[in-house]
Subunit: 506 residues, 2 copies
Amino acid sequence: MEKNFDTMVADFKDYIKRIKQYNDALGIIFWDLRTGAPKKGASDRAEVIGMLSTEMFRLATSDEMAKYIDYFTMSEQNEKLDNIMKVLVNESKREYDKFKKIPEAKYKEYVILTSEAETIWEEAKNTNNFALFSPYLERIVNFNIEFIDIWGYKDNKYNTLLDYYEPGMTVDKLDKIFGELRAKIVPLVASIKASEFQPDDSIFTKDFDVKKQEEFSIYILEKMGYDFEAGRLDESEHPFTIGITPGDVRITTHYYPNLFSSALFSSIHEGGHALYEQNISNNLNGTTLCTGTSMGIHESQSRFWENLVGRSYSFWKCYYQELLSIFPEQFEGIAVEEFYKAINKVEASLIRVEADELTYNLHVMIRYEIEKALINQQIKVADLPEIWNKKMEEYLGVVPPNDAKGVLQDVHWSGGSFGYFPSYTLGNIYSAQFCNAIRKEMPDFDEMIGRGEMLKIKEWLSEKIHKYGKLLTPAEILMDVTGEEINPEYLVEYLESKYKAIYNLK
Amino acid sequence: MEKNFDTMVADFKDYIKRIKQYNDALGIIFWDLRTGAPKKGASDRAEVIGMLSTEMFRLATSDEMAKYIDYFTMSEQNEKLDNIMKVLVNESKREYDKFKKIPEAKYKEYVILTSEAETIWEEAKNTNNFALFSPYLERIVNFNIEFIDIWGYKDNKYNTLLDYYEPGMTVDKLDKIFGELRAKIVPLVASIKASEFQPDDSIFTKDFDVKKQEEFSIYILEKMGYDFEAGRLDESEHPFTIGITPGDVRITTHYYPNLFSSALFSSIHEGGHALYEQNISNNLNGTTLCTGTSMGIHESQSRFWENLVGRSYSFWKCYYQELLSIFPEQFEGIAVEEFYKAINKVEASLIRVEADELTYNLHVMIRYEIEKALINQQIKVADLPEIWNKKMEEYLGVVPPNDAKGVLQDVHWSGGSFGYFPSYTLGNIYSAQFCNAIRKEMPDFDEMIGRGEMLKIKEWLSEKIHKYGKLLTPAEILMDVTGEEINPEYLVEYLESKYKAIYNLK
């Protein structure tokens, strides 16, 4: 080596920063595409995205990167690295190995396939034609199986995909966790269905001026501690959060003029994601560690704010008055208790993204079971509609009238995102565990929310979780914050106590 | 050469496309920065811009580029190129020579200096402190003189800078053109000042709801043929147009709740720029020729729409009724004739960007005279405030009370944009020449506008000017369209006939 250690460190950091900056540029362009970019520019823009992604891919898998990884993983140099550098080297190696092993031509073929498949999926969904999408899905599944063979796997092929979204997660663990959860949720949903009391959520389907909805979303986001000088709220077809740098974390929602609850809870949900990205430590800025550590932990933050805070009675005890002042006619004569029950109405339904916080997990489990079986070649793509409908009946007691409202409803598979769905329920589980930990330190958690002291909660989350970015693994964060491994009991406890009270169950 | 001719052509096109795609990404990021990007993200974003610009610079000055240029400029290959490829090779060579000749370290020093200087200029302007900005400006001027020595020049050092913004333009030509124009405008402004009749433009300073201003801007832009599926209208501090690709050309304006005329005429002005960029031929898409051919020709399009169309009597005969329906109270009792005269009020004033279409040219000439003398080392930066004020008195008969409203008012010099200012007046001159050519083909030009048939005018401009992008030089376009070289007489004629009528002059 001609260069000395310090120069190598500085050069590596510059190199990583360049990768991150390509990612930042892509972030802006994605945000722009979804928030009103002129549609006639879309095809040229797709090519720009392709060019920038290719450059980023090249940097992450270059000989120069290999040289840095080799150098810094030698024990003599590795010992001298600080913690951030150590994790950064590991993370870079993980990405390098993942992508370098796949022949470039094969990877390109896969990227083109998935981008075509998304268009085909959309058409298949719109025309309720699974047969149209089926051959594409089959090829995508086969590619994933091939990739797993290249990457290698332990115990179960699906583990490799799970690990990508949630480092350390395995089929064994998930089967157990999801099994426990399902055993509690299914009977709870059944009791709720049988309950004489059913909340009236028709109160949300009046006229709700979109500007006023926006005003109330902004009001709540500010109370949560979302920093509008480091972000902005826009509208898009599907709500999303994009963290470019901690100083620029943007969220979107979607307003329905005749449905109050959707935009607000989307705003709170995305606000939860955004608080994570806005509060990552400055030390990590300019590195690829400056983002959430996993999809599951990310989802724990959005779910925490959306459900454990935003759908709590204390929250509305505090903010219902403000809501009434914005929509006095729409909520006239509706007491806060009634409003609270309405936003927590549980009903087994067909569409995951519209599901309540209780049945949502059952939707996730169905997808998990199917993905696991597909990747292990235990079921065939062609049989998916039948399998889907059977599982819906078994888990939720409802059967889709067609594939558009069934197996074709989600975009994920068309993009090849196998292993992603479990993150949603992992997020719910983690959020309940984190909430339990907060309550130990802040026994008056509910009263604090009732007094509007959400900033203290945000600070706690930032200090315990957000600031670490990708520096700690999901399991490390969970252990540090709660002293436990993943444990679905807290979620079960929360759901049972909340919904038994709302539905007057024993 | 191992590769054959066709492969070289295809590779070169791909290479150029990559440069263009970096430019597209930068375009989106610039637009984003000026239309509401969170301010806490600004410093990280500046670094992303730096990285992308550096990559683009490297591509434009690489050994690979040199190889293409060498290959395609050999007569054997050059003869086989189609016209687009020929111009593309020339344009690439022009850029290569321009940047390659300057040592990279020197160029970097200059880029850092100008980016610092812009911040300093802003502070100097805000605190009315020319001495603060003066040393920076001196260094910028010296850099430019040094660059000109490296690049070489013909007859006059300033010619090299002029040629950058307006290929083919020289000091000799400009002195003659500006001299003729000034000789006509100065006495015309004097007669206007002495006129008993003065339009009342206080009618624009009532309350004008910003949403309604936007609505009317959109209405007019649609009538002009601006394609909202290939663009969008936003608000920014200073109005601008950014043409990313013909399918994505965005414009901005700035709304003043108590000043009607500003946002509308900015919208029309930027709309004129945008029509140019939206209507460049598809053949040029993906190349660096897919933009306006010069700043002067670009400005001719914006000025054409803003002044020759938007401030014409025919235009308001057609659209005043619509305006009245949007602002019935604000314009109650004001006849269209009175309104027309008010939007054409002429008054010698201090600030260029607020000047009317007549005195605007005098502001430009002052800057031109100063730049020419600076670059030829005939005056000193330290003496600029005095020189400025003297020229203001001489050309416009008004003297700035301070440097903030005088020599410090424009951003251009802090960024090193010497040679840019003349484009504004060249644009006015060209626009009048183009208008004369249209009138020959469409003798009922005024009546057409009066009937709201602006799309026919747009199509004429697109067919004669827009579609060529950078494929033709400004002089070629002018000659093809008008059969003449640049000639200020048409602008003089237009201004004299319009303003003599408005101000009842002989």
